[in-house]
């Protein structure tokens, strides 16, 4: 499949090609602009920003805002910077992504390879759950977390993210596995492999591309979540976005925009990294299933 792509049958003239490059570069400009604003303003002293030079390059370059955002900025009563919250996020995101991906993979496997009566309706129910606006689940979710004793814990937060992540991960894996030959599963059954052995030995080794897509999607969404993190984490266990929000949003205090932007870029670093590193596999993963419908 990837091989077919390297040779497109479309031919274009020199003029058209130039035009194409121009258009593509213009879009680069469009996409890069906000990042440009964030970066240039994160390396200027605050006076330069409030002085009105928000769009221009820094005349006095400083990395002090970065250092401040990371380790000394005030996000609570203690000047800790974003650093401790970074690890909170990691310890929430990693299990949440792992669990929702594994569940999604198993669900997709069952819904395509172990079909039973009513499975399509179940899938429909799960898919529709992707569309629930998160604002309405806050209160009842808090009640349930309270009953489970998970209120204010990372485990509770992981649970919440798994619950609302499993719909999409199931969708991805189901579409991917739908194209996976059922005969392989049957052959493995005859060979004596059980439910989990088939999954582990036969399907999973071929699921690389869709795992990448699913992990990117879940990682981005969970990492960037603010609402659940703020509502269900304890103060010290709050994820990075909550800390960032505390750094950025202050109604009646002095706004240090340069620190805010540095903090924002720091907070986005893991997701940016994921996109840059896994980006090339991303399109491949989408190709391999999820857009085939």
């Amino acid at each position: 499949m990837a091989v077919a792509s390297s040779d497109t049958a479309i031919r274009t003239g020199r003029f058209t090609r130039t035009l194409i490059y121009v258009v593509l570069l213009l879009f680069v400009l469009f996409y890069i602009l906000p990042l440009y604003i964030m970066i240039v303003n994160s390396v200027k002293p605050l006076s330069e920003i409030t002085g009105g030079g928000m769009m221009s390059l820094p005349s006095a370059f400083t990395i002090e805002p970065w250092a401040k955002a990371w380790s000394t900025a005030q996000v609570g009563v203690e000047p800790t910077g974003l650093r401790p919250y970074f690890w909170n996020s990691i310890s929430m995101v990693v299990p949440a992504v792992a669990i929702s991906t594994v569940l999604g993979a198993l669900n997709g496997y069952i819904l395509t390879k172990w079909r039973f009566r009513g499975d399509t309706i179940l899938f429909g129910l799960m898919l529709f759950s992707c569309f629930i606006p998160f604002q309405i689940v806050l209160i009842p979710m808090a009640a349930i977390l309270g009953v489970l004793g998970l209120s204010g814990t990372t485990a509770g937060l992981v649970l919440v993210h798994v619950v609302y992540g499993v719909g999409f991960s199931t969708l991805y894996f189901r579409n991917y596995y739908a194209a996976f030959p059922t005969e392989l599963v049957r052959a493995a059954q005859i060979d004596g492999a059980g439910f989990f052995q088939i999954f582990w030995r036969i399907l999973l080794p071929s699921s690389g591309p869709i795992i990448v897509v699913c992990v990117i999607w879940q990682f981005t969404n969970i990492w960037n979540d603010f609402l659940f993190g703020a509502s269900f984490a304890s103060g010290n266990g709050a994820p990075m976005t909550v800390a960032l929000n505390n750094l950025v949003q202050s109604s009646t205090g002095v706004k240090e925009y340069n620190v805010h932007f540095a903090g924002a870029i720091l907070a986005a670093m893991p997701t940016l990294l994921v996109y840059i590193v896994a980006g090339r596999y991303f399109v491949r993963g989408l190709m391999a299933g999820s857009v085939k419908g």
Partner: protein, 416 residues
């Protein structure tokens, strides 16, 4: 199945145990003071408690003037795990108090004599059914005007005493090519201005009838239309770019001499000080013309959540520390507001701060201290936001003053 539930219970019990074991002596405080100065000021409180052997579990949630924090609070209360103390404003405190969710601090209050030192208008928001439920931290007053002194001097403008003076001053600045009024077009900023304008246009009786008693006739009166007309005048004298601007960027315009005036609460002072400006020399602070005798206020408080019927030792210590004169001064020096108790020595405060304290004491004793509508101290949140809707729609030219008055009556009656 039963077994599963049992295992579940065991694990959750274990989790709960480990949590409570680690923080048995802690107070957990939910607040939205996360910007440098405020948070540092709060740290004073934390250290104070730590000397008493009480740990401080910090739970900062910034955003939207406490909106996010209130959302989080709902989640925590629903989960059956409310924090010890929660920063809150005005009617939110009463709402929670009326639900029976807050602790009764009367013993402590009697012991420390809160009734005598906290102004009555403020007590209104700290008590339910005669019970103290909340510890006030400060009083912000919102009917301030901030001005760039050199701009005013250069154009020969004296501090305006009346609305007409103010109009004249604005016209002068406009003629000189300076943006007369720096303003950020966000609903709460529009409403902050509206508070002062309405007070100035109709006087204290009018303000009280309209925004505190929510009297329909007053809301629909010609005076209200006059207030909206004055808002329209202000709208005509802000720059084109006001919409959505953060208040502190508007303040920066005054600091940089791009604009003459800004109507904003006393927290704006921090921006001036931070920029190295000196009150009285570089910038001026005065009450909005026509409201010299009145103070519209909002007060930050920490409401104390019921922890199972009794007030724990830690909770009492926290409340007591909040109302201690030393913390009141230390905090308000940084915050720009004035202490919630009127009996503390204000000599450590700067000129604006001292004037604020003086104004507050005077207004409190003369019955001229009113809760700010814009900051949720005049009417419940639903009404406040209904007023926001109308004020901001009118300010942005969605409809004229006459319609605005009708809309206001309607919106308030739906929200009541």
């Amino acid at each position: 199945m039963n077994k599963v539930i049992r295992t579940l219970k065991l694990t959750t019990a274990a989790a709960a145990f480990s949590v409570s074991a680690a923080y048995a002596e802690d107070v957990e405080v939910l607040h939205w003071w996360t910007s440098g100065g405020e948070a540092a000021a709060l740290n004073v409180l934390k250290q104070d408690l730590e000397t008493q052997g009480i740990g401080w579990q910090d739970m900062p949630v910034a955003g939207g003037g406490g909106t996010e924090a209130m959302t989080v609070l709902r989640a925590r209360v629903t989960a059956g795990d409310p924090p010890t103390a929660v920063q809150a404003l005005g009617f939110d405190i009463l709402d929670w108090g009326n639900q029976g969710a807050l602790a009764n601090l009367n013993d402590l209050a009697a012991q420390e004599g809160w009734d005598e030192v906290v102004p009555e208008a403020l007590q209104f928001f700290a008590k339910v059914d005669g019970k103290w439920i909340s510890a006030p931290v400060n009083v912000h007053s919102t009917n301030w005007v901030w001005a760039n002194k050199s701009v005013l001097d250069a154009n020969g403008i004296a501090v305006p005493e009346t609305w007409e003076d103010f109009v004249a001053a604005v016209e002068t600045l406009k003629a000189a090519g300076i943006t007369p009024i720096a303003h950020g077009g966000q609903a709460w900023q529009d409403a902050t201005v509206f508070d002062a304008v309405a007070m100035s246009a109709g006087g204290p009786e009018f303000y009280k009838a309209a925004f505190i008693d929510l009297d329909e006739e007053t809301l629909g009166s010609d005076t209200m239309k006059e207030a909206f007309d004055r808002m329209a005048f202000i709208r005509d004298n802000v720059d084109d770019n006001f919409s959505g601007r953060d208040w502190n960027l508007a303040t920066a315009m005054v600091i940089n001499g791009e604009a003459g005036f800004q109507m904003m609460g006393d927290w704006a002072k921090g921006e001036f000080l931070n920029a190295g400006k000196v009150p009285g020399e570089d910038f001026l602070c005065f009450r909005f013309p026509g409201t010299q005798d009145q103070v519209t206020f909002n007060a930050d408080q920490f409401m104390m959540f019921d922890q199972g019927g009794t007030v724990s030792q830690e909770q009492a210590a926290l409340a007591s520390a909040i109302l201690s004169p030393s913390f009141q001064i230390a905090f308000n020096k940084v915050k720009g507001s004035v202490p919630a108790r009127t009996d503390v020595d204000g000599s450590e405060l700067d000129a604006c701060g001292q004037q604020g304290m003086k104004d507050l004491a005077a207004a409190a004793s003369s019955g001229n201290l009113f809760g700010s509508m814009a900051h949720g101290h005049a009417a419940p949140a639903s009404v406040k936001n209904a007023v926001y809707d109308v004020v901001t729609a009118h300010f942005n030219g969605e409809y004229d003053s006459e319609t605005a008055v009708l809309e206001l009556v309607d919106a308030v009656s739906i929200a009541k």
